[in-house]
């Protein structure tokens, strides 16, 4: 039980560091640590398949993509555009208002029962695979189409255009 609170604290801390660090490369690295703490959360929820997918896809693929783009564009602390302090302050106030609104909507401060694992098997690969390929077969195939489209689109967009005169 205490593990959850420790990891949640770490997640919030590193997420805050992600958005408040001036250097973009440090920001990406803090985001990697945040995603790692999310992986720990998935393991605590006994969602092992999601933990592995989160680890590989988010920390492995997406974050490396971000890091590559940052290095390709040669960004560092000196070229980092920052907003004025007034805008930052207003942004933080708006975020706090959002938190309060969500707390009110969810009624989080009422007493709730502790989370009980109804069926500890649901997060395992065997069970999820059965659900994925029975009920969700069509969305699964459509998502493969989506990924193919995204790949072609990314290549077409990032390709250098020939000079037009």
């Amino acid at each position: 039980m205490t593990v959850f609170y420790l990891v949640a604290f770490l997640s919030i801390f590193f997420a805050l560091m992600t958005i408040f660090t001036k250097n973009p490369v440090h920001s990406v690295l803090y985001l990697v640590i945040t995603f790692f703490t999310f992986t720990v959360h998935y393991i605590l929820l006994n969602a092992q398949f999601l933990a592995v997918v989160n680890f590989i896809v988010y920390m492995g693929a997406i974050m490396v993509l971000f890091l590559f783009v940052l290095m390709l564009l040669n960004l560092n602390k000196d070229t980092e555009p920052m907003k004025s302090n007034l805008v930052k302050f207003m942004g933080v106030i708006a975020g706090c208002c959002l938190v309060v609104t969500f707390f009110g909507v969810y009624r989080v401060f009422e007493i709730s029962n502790p989370l009980t694992v109804v069926n500890p098997e649901i997060g395992l690969v065997k069970n999820l695979g059965k659900v994925l390929f029975n009920e969700f077969l069509l969305p699964f195939e459509l998502s493969s189409l989506l990924l193919l489209t995204a790949m072609i689109g990314a290549i077409l967009l990032a390709k250098k255009e020939p000079k037009q005169i």
Partner: protein, 109 residues
Amino acid sequence: METVVQQLQGVPINHYLIFCTIIFAIGVVGVLIRRNVIIIMMSIELMLNAVNLLLAAFSVQHGDSSGQVFVFFIMALAAAEVAVGLAIIIMVYRNTKSVDIDSLNKLRW
């Protein structure tokens, strides 16, 4: 695995709600206060992850694995979104030599 399940027992679902709300709000604040387009996209990833974790928590509470399948689809969507978004950022950088979001204000009235 037994110890993991025991670790889980006793954390109310409300605390997952509070935690995910805070992470989501941090993502929103990141979008509001930064001008670097790449960091704005990273904040969007943070928001997506907060929602993912909440979906997984509710799926575990109700004993229904549909929520976890949905998280899987959101992850596929996020991968596609990041690939296209970063390609657009590279294209914009090639034209304007900057990643500042304010250099893209030509469409504003």
